[in-house]
Every structure is written in structure tokens, then in C-alpha cells.
């Protein structure tokens, strides 16, 4: 159970093909034996429980209804170290925050399968009377405990567990009655791990996706979701969508038919709206190309994922504008943050407040669409060109197999993400914000974006450098990491100072 999972010697070679039923049964047995609570998982009982839930507590139904009604749902993040704290949190988010989807974020030991460390974290949290873990240790608590959380809320529950090792958490979560699970093999492995290979990450998520498909075979649809936000640090839309398309192909390969895509906001009204539209469109295009013509792919917009300002007022602006961006962009849901973001995990109250700010913003921006704007079309075209160039190359490198292509493309730098901690990646690609507030690509590394596209990015960034009177170099990327967290007098100098 170390950080690095060593593949079985007898394991079949990596591919995007569906794991056969018998192989999967054996994998499940091994997996569930890794920690005592694994024994609590009873698929039949779990299926019955899911079927007993009302429609409004099942995430796939709720997401589909949101699409039908043109709504933008709200969902926070949230996890604390003990069951009591977690229950209070989820109730507050449901009732005071009007959350449409209630989350359970796991702690970072759980994410890395350090379950005995998580056990100590629970004890320490109880001893000190405050959460010492940054999330809920769901595996340690097990199925029965987690189910009390689902019973405590009147909304669908989703597991948020940023990890490349979701095999036990997902078994426990689904068995407990969570009807959504966020995470994917490419996105989380490249952004949440250092030593885990892309291959291992993909395999681990193939397990999870195959598990979701197993529930599906039993008549229970579950919502799987891809975290396109990656390192959350100035991810250009195309890079998020590239991973979204590839992860979606892998999930569909295992039999998943309800697959959401998340996109971190760039904070540009036009660019975000373009990204949201193109994301859904291109995922469908590639899925159909690969013979999957019945996958539901709603898009979720995420509040700013980079560094936040310390001022609660500035943070409130990011939260509200984030609601506006999601609504105007036509996202099916928005994942929210709070005014505590720069400091630490928010209190239940601050978290609920962030939800309400966002919900009001959604109400205010109802019915606004940018479809008729030429710059909106321009950005959409740009993103399409970028995504197609890279995805086509990746699939090519895998001889049509998304799994193989991805592993090879990461090695070659063809698939790359900015600011990655993972050593299997080059992480040479570098984004920066241009003078008009769009995220652009400053350095493409070895990613095969079309020349004219990169020329456009360069022009826009040179324009910024010119306006600011700074050199055109990597510092543009570093200052773009800080930008949104800067204080107001730096962002907009006063008249007396500037004069």
C-alpha cells in the first residue's frame, strides 16, 4: 500500500479495452481485502440501496434534469476528519447553502492510501476537538458510517478524492450510496502524484470506471466525472479538454455512460464560455468517433483554481464572478469555493456562504448567452484547433488506443500539463495571461499545437509584455500565478499613486 503501486506480473498489457468480467471479479476480491472495511462492501445490498433513493438524491438524474431545465447547479467541496464534523458540514451545505450536490472530500492520507496515518489523524482530531485532516477518511470509517452521511442529506452525494488510487474509496463510496465520483486516470495522476506512472493511474481508474459500469449492468446509473482542472494553475482550456477527451474515451471503454467534465475557470467571460461549449462538443465528437454514441457528458465549471487573494471582499468577487461565468457559459453545474480559500479549509458557514453567493449570481445572469459574439466564436475555433491537434496525435501514437497513446504522449511531451509534480511528465508547457485577461500559451514545450495558433498566443502575450513594459519571458508565467491573489492597490493603482 505504498505510494507507488507495482503492477502484478500477470497483469494484462495496458489497453483501453474493457476489463473482462472474471478478471474484474478477481481484481475486486484482491482490492477489497486490502483494508478491513473492504469486507463491508456488498454489491447486491448497495444496488438495492441506490434503487431505494428518490430521483433527487441520484446524481445522474439530477444532472440530466438540470440540462433539461437549463439550470446551473451548485456544488461545494468539503471534508473534515471525523464523522460528526462531516455530518454537520454536509447538513449545513445542504440546508444553509442550498447545495444541489453535496460532497465528501477525502483527506490526503486516504488519497494516498496511507490508511493507518489517516487512523491517527482521526484520533488526533478527536483528541484536539478540531479536524487535523483535510478531508473525511472514508475508507477508515467504512460503508455503514458513510451511509449515515447520505441519509443525513436530501441531495445527491459525490465523492471528491483527488488521487491516482481510487480503488478502495470508490468501492466504499458507491456501496454507501454516493451516486457520483470525481477523478480520472490521466488528470489526477499528472496533477496529484510525483512517482506514480501514467499507466498505473490509468489502470486504477479503469478499475473505478469498470466498477461504475458494473452498477450500471445492475440497473444503477452512477455519475463519473473528470477533473479537468489538473494542477489548477492557469490551465488553458485546450489542455483541460484534451485530458477530458482522453479520459472520457477510457471511461467509456469500461462501460461508463454518464461522464461529467470539469473545467477550471480562466476568469475570462468569453474564454470560459467558449471552453464550456467546446468541451462538451469535442468530447461527444471523439466519443462518437470511437463508437460511443450514448454517453451523457455534462460540463461543470469550477471557481478559480489558482491562488486566491487574502481579502474576503476580493474573494467574494471571485466567487460571484465565478457564478456568473458558469451561468453565462451554460455549465450544468459549478463547483464553489469560499472567502477562506487563501487561508484554509473553510468552516461550514463560510462554505455555505460561498454557495449562496454563487447561487444568487446564477440567478442574476439567467438567460445571458454570448453565442452571437465574434470573439466567442474566435476562442471556440482556437480551442478546437488546439485540442484536435494534440488528441489526434496522442491517438495516433497509441495506434488508436487512448491508453497506450496517452502513456507514450506523456513520455514524449506531446501530452503535457503546466506546473505538474509528476516526474513521468515533462511539464514544460507554460501558460500566462494576456493583456485582455485571456489565458494563453507562453511556451508549448513539445505539445504539437498548430503554428498559426501558437503565433496568435505569442502575439497576445507580447502585447501584454509591451503594455506592462516587461520582457517577453517566463516571468510572464510566474506573475500570472500570483496575479489574482494580489491586493487591490496592486491590481488597480489609485489615481494619486498612478499619477
Amino acid at each position: 500500500m505504498g505510494a507507488v503501486r507495482r503492477p502484478d506480473p500477470g497483469e494484462p498489457p495496458l489497453s483501453a479495452a474493457r476489463i473482462p468480467e472474471d478478471v474484474f471479479a478477481a481484481m475486486r476480491r484482491d482490492n477489497l481485502a486490502r483494508w478491513p472495511t473492504g469486507a463491508e462492501v456488498d454489491l447486491d445490498a448497495a444496488v438495492d440501496f441506490h434503487k431505494s433513493l428518490p430521483e433527487h438524491k441520484r446524481l445522474p438524474s439530477v444532472m440530466r434534469r438540470a440540462v433539461a431545465e437549463g439550470r446551473c447547479l451548485t456544488q461545494p467541496r468539503g471534508g473534515f476528519g471525523t464523522l460528526e464534523l462531516q455530518m454537520e458540514l454536509m447538513r449545513t451545505l445542504d440546508t444553509d447553502g442550498f447545495a444541489d450536490i453535496v460532497p465528501t472530500t477525502t483527506d490526503s492520507y486516504t488519497r494516498n492510501e496511507h490508511f493507518s496515518r489517516a487512523e491517527k489523524g482521526i484520533e488526533e482530531s478527536k483528541r484536539l476537538g478540531r479536524s487535523m485532516l483535510n478531508g473525511f477518511p472514508m475508507v477508515n470509517y467504512g460503508v455503514a458510517a458513510a451511509r449515515t452521511l447520505i441519509e443525513a442529506i436530501d441531495k445527491p452525494g459525490i465523492v471528491l478524492s483527488g488521487t491516482a488510487m481510487p480503488k478502495l474509496t470508490s468501492e466504499i463510496g458507491f456501496a454507501a450510496g454516493y451516486s457520483g465520483y470525481l477523478g480520472s486516470g490521466i488528470a489526477y495522476t499528472v496533477s496529484y502524484t510525483k512517482d506514480i506512472s501514467i499507466e498505473d493511474g490509468i489502470r486504477n481508474y479503469q478499475y473505478l470506471d469498470r466498477l461504475a459500469a458494473l452498477y450500471r449492468e445492475r440497473g444503477v446509473e452512477l455519475h463519473r466525472r473528470q477533473p479537468g482542472f489538473l494542477t489548477g494553475t492557469n490551465i488553458p482550456p485546450s489542455i483541460a479538454i484534451i485530458t477530458g477527451v482522453l479520459d472520457a474515451l477510457l471511461a467509456a471503454g469500461q462501460g461508463v455512460r454518464d461522464y461529467g467534465l470539469e473545467l477550471g475557470q480562466t476568469l475570462h467571460l468569453v474564454q470560459d464560455a467558449a471552453a464550456i461549449q467546446v468541451c462538451g462538443e469535442l468530447c461527444q465528437e471523439y466519443l462518437r468517433q470511437h463508437g460511443f454514441d450514448d454517453v451523457f457528458t455534462p460540463v461543470t465549471s469550477l471557481h478559480w483554481m489558482g491562488a486566491w487573494p487574502q481579502d474576503a471582499a476580493q474573494s467574494a468577487a471571485l466567487i460571484v464572478y465565478g457564478g456568473t461565468l458558469a451561468a453565462v457559459g451554460g455549465a450544468v453545474s459549478v463547483t464553489t469555493k469560499s472567502t477562506h480559500e487563501a487561508f484554509g479549509i473553510p468552516t461550514p458557514e463560510a462554505n455555505a456562504e460561498g454557495l449562496r453567493m454563487t447561487r444568487m449570481a446564477i440567478y442574476l445572469a439567467r438567460n445571458i448567452r454570448l453565442d452571437t459574439m465574434p470573439e466567442f466564436q474566435r476562442e471556440k475555433d482556437l480551442i478546437r484547433k488546439e485540442v484536435r491537434a494534440v488528441v489526434d496525435k496522442v491517438l495516433d501514437m497509441g495506434d488508436g488506443d487512448a491508453a497506450l497513446g496517452t502513456v507514450r504522449a506523456c513520455e514524449a511531451g506531446v501530452l503535457d500539463i503546466p506546473w505538474s509534480p509528476n516526474r513521468c511528465l515533462k511539464s514544460r508547457v507554460l501558460p500566462a495571461r494576456d493583456a485582455d485577461g485571456y489565458l494563453r500559451i507562453l511556451d508549448a514545450g513539445d505539445m504539437p499545437f498548430p503554428k498559426d495558433v501558437l503565433g496568435f498566443h505569442e502575439d497576445r502575450l507580447r502585447e501584454r509584455a509591451g503594455r506592462e513594459g516587461v520582457p517577453y519571458d517566463h516571468d510572464l508565467a510566474v506573475s500570472s500565478v500570483y496575479e489574482i491573489s494580489e491586493s487591490l492597490d496592486k491590481l488597480i493603482p489609485g489615481m494619486s499613486a498612478a499619477g
Binding site: S108, R111, R130, S191, K194, D195, G344, T347, V481
Partner: protein, 154 residues
């Protein structure tokens, strides 16, 4: 430092990394870039680094300081024995800095700082610290060992 404080000319070596199961690499990397620019030799261990790897690297490179990043909130659990591990490895006097989002949730900084000083860190830095402030502190501590007084007291 104190006794073995060396000439200001020598290039100082700093070990950096993100402790525990923490994947937040961005600030750590930007800090590293700034430290190198400021003339330090940086031994960067990256994200998800266990405590003992910091110490091993510090011993191997005869580092002048260890710069521990912790953003994800569980630093309070990860860092508890850090100074003791240093002492066991013969690094009694190595300068220890820690920075990031050091606890779970928004807590009063003075309390958080005290907790980390009690764990044996010479300095703790609050959320959002800019690299200039870190470089200035290092300069101070390497010039006249400012933290020395307090360290002597320990």
C-alpha cells in the same frame, strides 16, 4: 550555525520540498526559482516528500537550511517530529523554515506560528508569503544568526 557559521562568500545550500502526502508544488517551485536567482544552491525534492528524505538530503549535501513547504493542512501532523529527526541525524543546528498553509482551516496566525516554533522550526511563514520576504529572512539569519538567540535557549 553559530559555531560553524561560514564566510558569506560560500554558496549556501538549501533543501526544499513539500512534506507528507502534499502535492502542492507550484509555490515550492517558484520559491526554488527565486532562491536560485538569489544565489543559493537549491536541492529540490519536489512534492510528496517524507520527512526523512529531507534530512537525508540535507546530510548528503551538507545543507545550510531545510525549507519545508506544507500547503494542504496536514502539516501539523507531518512536521511534529521534524526537529527531533534532524537532531538524530546530527543536524542539531540546521536552520529550519516552514511555510504554506500550515494548519487545517483559517486559524489565527500567531497561534499557528507558535505551534511550529514549539516543534522546533526557526521560522514559520504565513499563507501567501512572497519570495522576497523569504530571501530577506534567510539573509538576516545567515548574516548575524538572528534566530541564534532563541535556538541557544532551546
Amino acid at each position: 550555525m553559530g559555531a560553524d557559521s561560514t564566510s558569506a562568500e560560500r554558496r549556501r545550500t538549501l533543501v526544499t520540498g513539500v512534506i507528507g502526502s502534499d502535492t502542492h508544488i507550484v509555490g515550492n517551485r517558484i520559491l526554488g526559482m527565486a532562491l536560485e536567482k538569489a544565489g543559493y544552491t537549491v536541492v529540490a525534492l519536489g512534492a510528496l516528500t517524507p520527512a526523512d528524505e529531507f534530512i537525508k538530503a540535507a546530510v548528503e549535501t551538507a545543507a545550510d537550511a531545510i525549507m519545508v513547504s506544507s500547503l494542504y493542512g496536514q502539516g501539523e501532523l507531518d512536521c511534529r517530529d521534524f526537529r527531533n529527526l534532524c537532531i538524530e541525524a546530527g543536524l542539531e543546528d540546521i536552520l529550519l523554515y516552514v511555510g504554506g498553509n500550515l494548519v487545517v482551516g483559517k486559524q489565527p496566525w500567531a497561534e499557528v506560528e507558535q505551534r511550529y516554533r514549539d516543534m522546533g522550526f526557526d521560522r514559520a511563514f504565513p499563507p501567501g508569503t512572497r519570495t522576497d520576504a523569504v530571501i530577506a529572512a534567510l539573509e538576516d539569519d545567515f548574516r548575524a544568526p538572528a534566530a541564534g538567540g532563541q535556538k541557544a535557549g532551546r
